[in-house]
């Protein structure tokens, strides 16, 4: 029995999304920027996709910019916004983010640091939630942009988005959120949350890989980060990926309608997995038990190596991920910066796996996983105890 439990890494596209993608790839061959009938046919589908996505997050049609995924959307938000305000607000040179962001944001802000911006990494508490008082203090009249992820990709913790955006607005700075892990799992309303920019990626919500979007609230200054034929109102040049954006819209439309139903199911499975872990002893759940994306579990096991557990489970066709793997050139670990920031002891970081359930899982699969987890943890502990 194959059991895929790595839905934070990527999600298998829904069958109806695959069919829709194949249909549009075949039936909409025109360039959506062409003026002839074939181009206009594709344009209509492209417009439907943009409006559908806008509806799902309570945005407007022209507030959506299609991208190649979450990483491009994050880069566009940070570099594009700072480029746009460079002459309007030269005094705003401070960029605030958290210490547990995805590399798409962390590496981007490091690059901004090299360009002369002041970078502030806000610490998190042991549940993985940003230190809100410190964040409030740091956001001031010199802050250009604050970028805090909606939900963390390793531990699933959801950040206090509304509180953060309110503080940003008091100080007159823009708020961006990388919502890649939250989209399709948590209701999104950009107005309710007070978000100026939001990044998302289709393959995290059962859509195709290589396509995503950036929401940009009307009136938010933005410059392109690369140039070409002036697509997406001149902000993201490149021929429109009509089948990709259409399949993304289809996926988001479907998953957005089932968020509550899936939350209940995922909670049942999470409880079952966690109860199994409690029987094993020496297991720690990382992050906030309640305030997390449904179905996400970061589990640390004492006395075993997480990569070894992942490898053992994989032998039985169970896919989970690990927070730590040996780096070449040393025995030091490519340890999780997220768990490190949460002050998780290194021995626990080393013994961590991430288990994330999804639409394709069944009760039988979770039963099988729990049985195999017990078996493999016991086996690995036997290796270390003799």
């Amino acid at each position: 029995m194959k059991v895929y439990l790595d839905h934070a890494a990527t999600t298998p596209p829904l069958p109806e999304v695959v069919n829709f993608f194949a249909d549009t790839l075949r039936d909409y061959p025109g360039n959506a920027s062409s003026l002839h009938y074939e181009g206009q046919h594709s344009r209509q589908l492209y417009q439907w996709a943009k409006q559908t996505i806008a509806n799902c997050i309570h945005a407007e049609y022209d507030e959506i910019i299609f991208t190649s995924g979450g990483t491009e959307a994050d880069n566009m938000a940070l570099f594009g916004y700072l480029k746009a305000i460079k002459t309007i607000h030269p005094e705003r040179k401070k960029v605030i983010t958290s210490s547990i962001e995805h590399e798409a944001v962390i590496e981007s802000v490091k690059e901004l640091g090299k360009m002369g911006y002041e970078i502030v990494f806000v610490p998190v508490n042991n549940k993985g939630i940003v230190e809100i008082d410190y964040l409030r203090e740091q956001i001031d009249e010199n802050t250009a942009i604050c970028s805090i992820m909606f939900a963390n990709n390793e531990v699933g913790t959801i950040q206090p988005i509304k509180q953060i955006s309110e503080r940003c607005h008091e100080a007159g700075c823009v708020f961006h959120t990388d919502a890649v892990q939250a989209m399709g799992k948590v209701e999104q309303d950009v107005n309710e949350f007070g978000i100026e920019m939001l990044s998302a990626s289709a393959h995290k919500f059962y859509g195709p890989k290589g396509v995503g979007f950036l929401y940009v609230k009307k009136g938010t200054p933005l410059e392109p980060v690369f140039y070409g034929g002036g697509h997406e109102s001149g902000l993201r040049s490149g021929t429109e990926n009509v089948p990709g954006v259409a399949a993304m819209a289809k996926a988001l439309e479907i998953v957005s309608g089932k968020i509550n139903e899936k939350r209940v199911l995922y909670q049942k499975w999470s409880d079952q997995i966690f109860n199994t872990c409690e029987q094993l002893h020496g297991v720690q759940l990382n992050g906030d038990r309640e305030n997390r994306t449904p179905g996400s579990l970061s589990l640390s096991f004492s006395g075993i190596n997480g990569e070894a557990l992942m490898g053992m489970l994989s032998m039985d066709e169970i896919a989970v991920s690990t927070a730590s793997a040996c780096k070449s050139h040393s025995h030091s670990k490519g340890g999780s910066h997220v768990l490190t920031a949460m002050n998780c002891p290194s021995e626990f970081i080393n013994g961590t796996i991430r288990v994330v359930t999804g639409w394709d899982n069944t009760d039988e699969q979770i039963d099988y996983f729990c049985d195999k987890l017990k078996e493999k943890v016991t086996l690995l502990r036997r290796l270390s105890n003799g």
């Binding site: 190596n305 025995h331 080393n350 270390s384 003799g386």
Partner: protein, 122 residues
């Protein structure tokens, strides 16, 4: 996994040989990574400078488990001077792993260090 773990490595990782402890071992050899608590402990039973038996306990990544298993097979029955002459390169080649992963060489290094101390103290 297919790219990162060779077939030979998977064979040793999923069915590690010589796991356990030896009650009356001549000496123990430990390799340890302080940063994360991973480590291996070999129990060596020597008779007339020949390694008659070897067992080990390990907490480590798949590479370290496989390397410990292969190392235990490689050294069992050999004389101390033969073990000291063994080249770590052989383990990297056998397990098909990039030489930069020190978790592969850790088990043999641990055994060699312990044997070196043992022979010097005799």
């Amino acid at each position: 996994m297919a790219e990162r773990y060779s077939q030979a490595l998977m064979k040793h990782f999923t069915d590690p040989q010589n796991i356990g402890k030896i009650e009356n071992s001549t000496l123990a050899a430990t390799g340890f990574n302080e940063s994360d608590g991973d480590g291996v402990k070999f129990y060596l039973k020597l008779e007339d400078d020949v390694l008659k038996d070897v067992k080990y306990t390990i907490k480590g990544c798949p590479r370290a488990i496989a390397a410990s298993s292969f190392t235990s097979q490689l050294i069992k029955g050999k004389r101390i001077d033969e073990i000291m002459a063994l080249d770590e390169q052989r383990i990297f080649e056998e397990l098909g792993i990039d030489q930069s992963f020190t978790c592969i060489s850790m088990p043999l290094e641990a055994v060699k260090n312990a044997l070196k101390e043992y022979t010097q103290s005799k």
